[in-house]
């Protein structure tokens, strides 16, 4: 990330790169939040895009009704997505393994079709934001400034997540991932720990969604689609799950590859799929693990 700063600063006159970097930073925030539950909690959520969309729509709807205070709108976005995660998590965590994957997918699909159905929120066409929110003393309309705001929030969230996974809470969470029965026998109410982690992850994704709504000035049901959830999982696994650096790395790799390949050819999904396949089949700990392993050995 330190590498990205001067590079972006130098390129501030080129909107393409600033936009690409902002996308990476925003999706990295969502990916890190997903990594919290997938990598550290062993909860493979296939519906993380739902919280992203919940945050984005909260900002979009508030902006439509004239509320453009950034702190207020973003807090509301975090609150709404955290609440959604609380409800979904409380029901979904009764299951595990493949069933957990499927039930989180089911809830995300419900959110997706709800967003498609409600005409007041634009239905299938989505909802444009009249203007970006107002942050006192900061001009969010400037792309470079928005980038640094997003970067600051990402750094803040990563620092928070790093604290969290090393805390007693994080150790219990990892313990529950490795052997839930043992943690239960030790007297830890693992359900509550997992639910809190799920809610924190949902809140993080909601913040990312809020930022994306500001960035794109547009929200659409597509944000909650299952392929978006799949992409978020790809970012986490591509980089190497269970390492926060891996989630950042994976996001940069995926968004970067998408931008790069789509510049060469209209058929960029095929090479992207092939690269993904090779990484899954041959680099078991993801790109980050592979590189770290190279450096160690």
């Amino acid at each position: 990330m330190l590498v990205a700063l001067p590079a972006v600063a130098g390129a501030l006159h080129q909107p393409f790169w600033v936009n690409a970097a902002t996308r990476i930073v925003i999706f990295a925030l969502a990916a890190v939040s997903l990594d919290l539950i997938v990598g550290y909690g062993g909860m493979v959520s296939f519906g993380h895009a739902a919280y992203f969309a919940a945050g984005a729509y909260t900002v979009g709807i508030l902006a439509q009704s004239g509320i453009d205070s950034a702190p207020l709108a973003w807090l509301a976005a975090v609150a709404v997505s955290a609440l959604l995660a609380l409800v979904v998590g409380a029901l979904s965590l009764r299951t595990s393994g493949i069933f957990f994957i499927m039930i989180t997918l089911a809830f995300a699909q419900m959110v997706f079709f709800l967003l498609v159905a409600v005409k007041a929120w634009g239905g299938n066409d989505g909802l444009p934001l009249p203007s970006r929110a107002v942050l006192p003393g900061v001009d969010l309309r400037d792309a470079g400034v928005l980038y640094y705001v997003c970067l600051t929030l990402l750094v803040g969230f990563v620092a928070f997540a790093a604290q969290l996974v090393e805390s007693r809470f994080g150790i219990v969470l990892r313990g529950a991932r490795n052997n839930e029965r043992r943690m239960l026998a030790l007297g830890f109410p693992t359900f509550r720990y997992k639910l809190v982690a799920f809610v924190v992850a949902g809140a993080g994704a909601g913040l990312a969604g809020a930022l994306y709504a500001e960035f794109a000035r547009f929200v659409s049901p597509d944000m909650a689609s299952w392929s978006r959830s799949g992409e978020l999982l790809v970012m986490v696994i591509l980089g190497g799950m269970g390492t926060l650096a891996g989630a950042l790395f994976g996001t940069a790799a995926l968004v970067g590859l998408e931008s790069l390949l789509s510049g060469f050819t209209e058929h960029w999904m095929l090479p992207l799929g092939a690269i993904l396949l090779v990484v899954v089949l041959f680099a078991k700990r993801g790109l980050y693990g592979w590189i770290a392993g190279r450096l160690d050995g």
Partner: protein, 304 residues
Amino acid sequence: MTLLFEQLLNGLQFGTMIFLIAAGLTLVFGIMGVINLAHGSLYMIGAFVAATAAGRGAPFVAAVAAGAVAAGLAGIVMEVVVIRRLYRREHLDQVLATFALILIANDGVSMIWGKVPLPVDVPAALHGAVPLGGFAYPAYRLVLIAAGLLVALGLYLLISRTRLGMLIRAGATHRETVAALGVDIARLNTVVFGVGALLAGLAGALLAPIIAVQVGMGEQILILTFVAIVVGGLGSIRGAFVGALLVGLVDTLGRAYLPVVLKPVARPELADSLGGGLSAIAIYLLMAIVLVWKPRGLFPAGSR
């Protein structure tokens, strides 16, 4: 009343087609423990090959057979090249690898056939409608129902009465024992995967005349199929059958009746859009309720 009956038939028709796809998916999960997101791509390949064959003037039955066989062959290649390496991996790796396969299949198909939907005609002999006491029902849809039920029966006999079926059942619950008894598990896996792919391709080919044959069609139905097998209990053919019919009926009846039910309480255009949305949600609600109530589905298979 006749409308209800017609909608029930529609639901049955949709459900049996979902079952064709679900059967392979649930067997692959039950025996190999693999979540194959790319199963919908095989369905897509079946539809595209059948559409192309029919477009070149092949008789409809031959076109359907070509689609099914092409999907079966694609499935065997998929198993040998990729899926085989995923048996001992975590579900997460399987999700990611087969997600990558979807990207490859979708882009490959759009390279060969383009992004415009392919038109397929209902065969001339089945153009009409069959009178069913009080209303007429399209003949082609009746054929789909019959074909779906026939395959379900055939699959039941295959699994409960034949040697291959015995190996499949044994492989699902006691994999190591079966291998220790000298059965070539690797070949069994390839055969099962190929049969599942064939059935998915058959569903795609049969549905080609009444749906849009286009890139991305596989994912739409894949999720419904997953709902069906999760509701039914993963790895169980019987569960897949019940789950598929439930999904077909709930989805079809929801689409037909939710707007009607909502009419008295909402403005007409709101009732239409909300009803459409809620009926799309209905099947996921069904799945969530089943999983919260029975976390392993209605008919959990084996002990794994």
